[in-house]
């Protein structure tokens, strides 16, 4: 062949390929972490910019502005910058950013289910000396436990919340359905509502996405099972227990006849259960009291929106929803711990704590200020729900189970109608493997 591609160009191509290929090869080995530089000493600069990470939907704009302004007034020369993080993928993000002094935020919010892991590995500053200043005995004790390791508190209770049901009074009336008082009645009510509204495409009696595992575990807890429990030194998964299996049978029955939303698997869609509620595609959803502000005001004003708490298995029992909530902590590798502690005291001041109740709709970490939540029906139900709520295992490695999405995948499979027995055994084994590794 009369060399249509002359040699130089052929070489240039090969050379360029070499460079690109090398970059490709080396980038193939991503996932290397920052070096584990954890500065032991406290103290640090007396002024500077304090970086605060709060989660989406946790702290209201009003509360944030108050914190920023007050902090900057009390600490002339210093500033406070806050960034809003999303829950999805936060565990890996914290693992990498907290480890290095350059990338770490100074104050972080941790989901209560993730707190034990970060307390145990030395990622957080010991707050035991500060505990009395932050509220002492008035702090929500279940959150203090999740935020402690070997009797030292590393992550203080930030706020708590639990889900309750929102329902359409007009739809209930039209279908002749009463507010359910047991889980079976809930399934029956959802089924009747779904049949009564069959003309609406995709209508769910109860909107309950399979991916919303934190909602789904209310069935597990109310039946008396736990995600995992400790027997001696070993953790044992609870999905395969008779109580766990009973809860899965109830859920799958619900998804079969009373909810078309078990196959919803998008976490963003699932985090907005008020959307199908507003569009009349469901008669009920299981959400937080602060979802009220996302509900169509026309529905609320017309008196069409009602609330009820998670029902028990049988009359006389209690419904046990998942104990949602967060802890707040100072990163151990922060270089501005004194400033961070000053800001921490402001976070536990009356004003900021009451904003949780008045603006956010959460139960504040310091229960002394919980009365600010009010005494209307929604607030009373929420307070009751928080009181009866059950948490995820207080295990050192629980955050790793969440990181592996074991529970998410499991409830998605349940929502898709897969076999509860074999999948529960597999999910239990996966949880046990992670929880029991040292």
């Amino acid at each position: 062949m009369a060399s249509p591609l002359p040699n130089p160009s052929r070489r240039a191509v090969l050379g360029a390929g070499g460079a690109l290929g090398l970059a490709g090869l080396l980038a193939a080995c991503g996932g290397s972490s920052g070096s584990g530089s954890s500065s032991g000493g406290g103290g640090g600069a007396s002024s500077g910019d304090l970086r605060v990470w709060f989660m989406k939907d946790s702290v209201s704009d009003t509360a944030m502005e108050w914190l920023k302004t007050t902090f900057e007034q009390q600490n002339p020369g210093s500033t406070l910058t806050y960034e809003i993080q999303v829950w999805d993928g936060i565990v890996p993000k914290l693992q990498t950013s907290l480890a290095s002094a350059d990338s770490t935020p100074d104050i972080i919010e941790l989901g209560n289910t993730q707190a034990p892991t970060f307390c145990a590995v030395g990622a957080l500053e010991d707050l035991s000396d500060l505990e009395a200043d932050l509220g002492g005995d008035q702090l929500t004790q279940s959150l203090v436990e999740l935020g402690s390791f070997e009797d030292r508190m590393y992550a203080a209770p930030f706020y708590a919340g639990s889900r309750i049901f929102f329902y359409r009074k007009d739809m209930f009336e039209a279908a002749g359905v009463a507010v359910p008082t047991t889980i079976d009645e809930l399934t029956a009510a959802a089924t009747t509502l779904q049949q009564a509204n069959a003309a609406t495409p995709g209508f769910s009696g109860l909107y309950l996405p399979g991916i919303s595992w934190q909602s789904c575990i209310a069935w597990l807890f109310t039946n008396g099972a736990l995600l995992a429990s400790q027997e001696g030194d070993t953790w044992k998964g609870g999905l395969s227990t008779p109580e766990g299996q009973a809860s899965l049978a109830q859920l799958q029955q619900l998804w079969k006849t009373g909810s078309a939303s078990g196959t919803v698997t998008d976490s963003t869609t699932a985090s907005q259960p008020f959307v199908p509620f507003n569009t009349g595609e469901t008669a009920m959803f299981f959400g937080f009291n602060w979802h009220l502000k996302s509900i169509d005001p026309a529905l609320v004003e017309a008196g069409k929106v009602g609330y009820f708490g998670f029902p028990p298995v049988s009359a006389g029992g209690v419904g046990k929803p998942f104990a949602g909530g967060s802890n707040v902590a100072i990163s151990a590798s922060s270089s501005k711990k004194d400033l961070a502690k000053a800001a921490m005291k402001l976070i536990f001041a009356k004003e900021f704590q009451e904003y949780f109740a008045t603006e956010g709709g959460w139960v504040p970490g310091n229960l002394q200020y919980a009365a600010a939540l009010g005494s209307d029906e929604l607030s009373t139900l929420t307070t009751e729900a928080v009181k009866n709520s059950v948490g995820t295992p207080a295990a050192k490695n629980w955050a790793l189970v969440e990181g592996a999405k074991t529970v998410d995948d499991f409830y998605v499979a349940m929502g898709a109608g897969k076999d509860p027995v074999s999948l529960a055994a597999a999910a239990d084994a996966a949880m046990e493997k992670v929880l029991n590794q040292s």
Binding site: A28, V121, I211
Partner: protein, 314 residues
């Protein structure tokens, strides 16, 4: 890089009068910044990762506790883990299939461009450049919207065409359709580069050769097989290899789409698996071992190409 120096064409050496020692020293000096950058930016993480793959390196170590040397335990655990082999098989299958489709579509597109009038060819290339230059997260968001089960245009279009059962269909809930959407997205983002490179190579072919082929009575298929393809073979080989490497270590597309699916375990490829084990699972040692295995696999795939590069005469 010293190879390149030694291979400097003799013609140039004769043309430039040189005091060879100082010239050589200057050349070496000029190479220092580039070499240092490569060593720092790529060498350090690689060495550290290699080290970590022989250590028990978990979350405690990430936050300051000294790691323990465990020899080949991480590799042994990885190689005896059926999950790893399942992920490996999935990754290799996905990357070969998607790379093949990308090459076929890209080459066909490039040949089509040569047949277009110039304004059309330019317009198509501009559009392709825009698609190629679009940040991957933006493309992902568009694909997520398109395939959304509630309001996505794809489901509605299919339903309008008469496939009623596709209304509200969840593409991300089964591995098969999940991989189809992910593959489509990866292909869509890689085709433009293939088109550009193949088009550039095809337009370099001496037109007299093509004319001669036409005079000899070769049809389009024969012309491609016997004239065009051999002429652009080096480019095709290079682009195919790069596609395979890129598709093997695909991460972002899968990581983001997994949050739509809730079937994380069944849709993990090597990139997301390493992330899951290391960053989400807090086992940096095992994840490093898996990453080294991925690197080894990539080197094996690229071995022939690297050999070719080293042997290539000046």
């Amino acid at each position: 890089m010293s190879l390149a120096l030694r291979r400097r064409p003799p013609v140039r050496r004769a043309a430039v009068p040189l005091s060879s020692r100082s010239d050589r020293r200057l050349a070496l000096l000029l190479l220092v910044p580039a070499t240092a950058t490569v060593l720092l930016a790529l060498g350090y993480p690689l060495v550290r990762q290699l080290g970590m793959s022989f250590q028990r390196f978990g979350l405690e170590q990430q936050f300051g506790r000294p790691p323990e040397f465990v020899g080949l335990a991480n590799y042994q655990a990885m190689l005896t883990d059926p999950t790893f082999w399942a992920v490996l098989g999935r990754s290799v299958g996905f990357c070969l299939l998607v790379a093949a489709i990308t090459m076929a579509v890209g080459t066909a597109g490039a040949l089509l461009l040569t047949a277009c009038s110039r304004p059309v060819a330019v317009a198509v290339q501009v559009v392709m450049l825009l698609a190629w230059a679009m940040p991957v997260l933006s493309s992902l968001q568009v694909f997520q919207w398109m395939f959304d089960s509630r309001s996505g245009v794809v489901d509605h279009a299919l339903a309008a065409l008469g496939f009623d059962q596709m209304l509200g269909f969840n593409w991300f809930a089964q591995p098969s359709t999940f991989f189809a959407v992910a593959g489509l997205l990866v292909t869509w983002m890689s085709v433009p580069l293939v088109v550009f490179m193949v088009y550039a190579a095809v337009t370099q072919i001496d037109t007299s050769v093509l004319e001669a082929a036409a005079l000899d009575g070769a049809g389009p298929a024969q012309t491609f097989r016997h004239v065009v393809a051999p002429s652009i073979a080096p480019v095709l080989a290079l682009v195919t290899l790069l596609q395979i490497i890129w598709d093997l270590r695909v991460f972002t597309q899968f990581h983001v789409l997994q949050s739509n699916g809730g079937i994380t375990e069944q849709t993990n490829v090597l990139g997301t698996f390493i992330y899951q084990v290391g960053l989400a699972g807090g086992d940096y040692g095992s994840a490093s071992a898996a990453a080294m295995l991925l690197l080894l696999l990539t080197l094996l795939i690229a071995a022939r190409y690297i050999a070719l590069l080293l042997k290539e005469p000046a």
